[in-house]
């Protein structure tokens, strides 16, 4: 047979995917770092629910979305459950992914594994999916824990719409976690040393968590300077600020869950007085409308995850097996 660039690669790229998936999942679930993460997340869940419930007990007004309040309510000094999640989950994702590929190099196992009848695709997909499945498992456990605890603390069963919103919130959170798993995977391919890879991923996380807000403010000021005699320039600057800050997955996630968990939210951008004409302020939106509001943010998060995975894929396919 003549070699030609047109002849197709034989077999399925998924051969061996499940073998890799289950092995990685077993590794994750039995690893020490998982134990540490579990303890941290458990503590944060209990703390958040307790704080939320304390706040809620003091409110006496009728609220049809009590369960959702548990997720969002904060009581000093404890932050809300979602604040905990958006803080811890990137760290958990990085902890599971930072040594995915370079770990195989460092243990000298990569050439042995790739000498088996599988494609590199299977190895990468298996690792990514195992990481995501592990995170989904943590998330689901955490979620059920919070719902169960809040039932005990509050004694009010959630309505079906609340449950639907909470599940969508779970989906958004998983997409957000996927982004950080993608970042961790990219750095595990880029850097041969596991420590460098972990530090890089954490640096990216810190950058978006702490500095991107300041930077997007500066950028917005530069792009749309404030003119004291032009009230429209204020709107332009606000819109520019929003556009820049939406580059960060943290902003996308925060906006998505704001729309999903707070039925009263009607817009995620600046709203003009004229647009509010005829609106019943504070009246909850139906689920479909809230979902529509969060849709761009949700797709943004999923697209970002896929983009990062594709980048890892390209980098890894070109990488030499030998150090």
């Amino acid at each position: 047979m003549q070699p030609s660039s047109r002849s197709k690669r034989e077999g399925s790229p998924w051969t061996g995917l499940w073998a890799v998936f289950f092995k990685e999942m077993t590794d994750h679930l039995s690893s020490t770092r998982m134990r540490i993460l579990e303890v941290l997340i458990l503590l944060s869940a209990v703390g958040a629910v307790y704080a939320g419930a304390q706040t809620l007990r003091q409110t006496i007004s009728e609220d049809p979305f009590l369960l959702l309040r548990v997720f969002t309510a904060a009581q000093d000094p404890l932050p809300s459950f979602i604040a905990f999640l958006s803080f811890f989950l990137p760290l958990a994702a990085i902890a599971l992914g930072f040594d995915a590929i370079n770990g195989e190099y460092n243990r000298n196992t990569l050439s042995r594994i790739l000498a088996q009848p599988i494609y590199r695709d299977a190895l990468l997909w298996g690792k990514f999916l195992a990481g995501l499945a592990t995170l989904a498992l943590i998330l689901l456990a955490l979620f059920l824990l919070v719902v169960g605890l809040s039932l005990i603390f509050l004694g009010v069963p959630p309505s079906s719409e609340e449950v639907a919103r909470a599940l969508l919130f779970l989906l958004a959170t998983l997409a957000y976690t996927g982004v950080w798993l993608g970042i961790a995977l990219v750095s595990s391919v880029l850097f041969r040393s596991a420590a460098t890879s972990a530090l890089t991923a954490i640096a990216v996380w810190l950058f978006f968590a702490l500095f991107w807000g300041i930077i997007s403010q500066l950028l917005a000021q530069a792009v749309a300077p404030l003119d004291p005699f032009d009230p429209e320039s204020q709107l332009r600057q606000a819109e520019a600020l929003l556009a820049f800050s939406r580059i960060s997955p943290n902003t996308l996630y925060a906006e998505a869950i704001q729309a999903l968990l707070n039925p009263g939210v009607r817009s995620l951008g600046p709203v003009l007085i004229s647009q509010l004409e005829g609106a019943l302020l504070g009246a909850p939106l139906p689920l479909g409308q809230s979902f529509l509001l969060a849709w761009p943010q949700l797709t943004g998060l999923i697209a970002l995850t896929l983009l990062l995975f594709a980048l890892t894929y390209v980098l890894f396919q070109r990488r030499e097996v030998r150090a």
Partner: protein, 309 residues
Amino acid sequence: MVIETRGLTKRYGKVVAVDGLELSIEAGEVYGLLGPNGSGKTTTILMLLGLTEPSAGTVRVLGFDPAREPLSLKRQVGYLPDSVGFYGEMTAWENLAYIARLNGLPRALAQQRMERVLERMGLAEVAQRPVSTFSRGMRQRLGLAEVLLKEPKVVILDEPTLGLDPEAAQEFLKMIQGLKNEGITVLLSSHLLHQVQAICDRVGLFHQGKLVLEGRVEELAQRVLGGAYRIRLEATPLEGLAERLRALPGVSQVQTDAAGLKLEAQQDIRPQVAQVVLEAGATLQSLLLEQPSLDEVYARYFQEVRHAA
């Protein structure tokens, strides 16, 4: 031909790691890819397995193109890398089970084969121990067990004796020889020429990415060492023997050293030598035909190359 390459070349930037390699290995052969570190042996092996892409040339292993049909190829070719690593926190059994799953072996068959290869490599007792507690020699044997798990037609071993103590190395080489008896084609690379020369049917000597010498060890010795038979002789007294032996037809060199005499001749003239010694009235203590060593062949060859340059 089990392994065949045509004009196989690999360049890393400006560095040419493998240069126009023409390799043909027949079924059932033990072929030694020999040469110093960095001469392109590992790169060649990776190209044979499709783990790295050739810059030019073609490769066929069992008739498969590693770039296009890697799955069929890797199902029948076992590979033991030079620094073999395992998942240290997993047991030997679990490590093998993972490889069996990657090969898509059904559970019952995998179990049966795993028991067999562990037994054969003498690892049955330690199968449930984490690999991190294994010695270098045990890891190497586990690596060979893993290679045998897929019952390969071709086995490629990169520096199989590296880092093993002499006894373990000999034992490991014996295991490799056992593969030949089962009809498995073996390609092994090494920079320790004297260690592997005994088990190789044919060897190819690498130098700076080129295959400079190829053939059976004796043939190479013949070619490079000038077709010399080297005869070592111990006798007392030695006086006068050197002159008499030099007079024998076909003798090109006679050297005296502390242990006795060393002759180089064009033929095996041991009977004549014995006769000369006895005629001289000396007692013959030993008369040996020395096996040519690959190290010597290699050293001599490059001496000549340097002289020619």
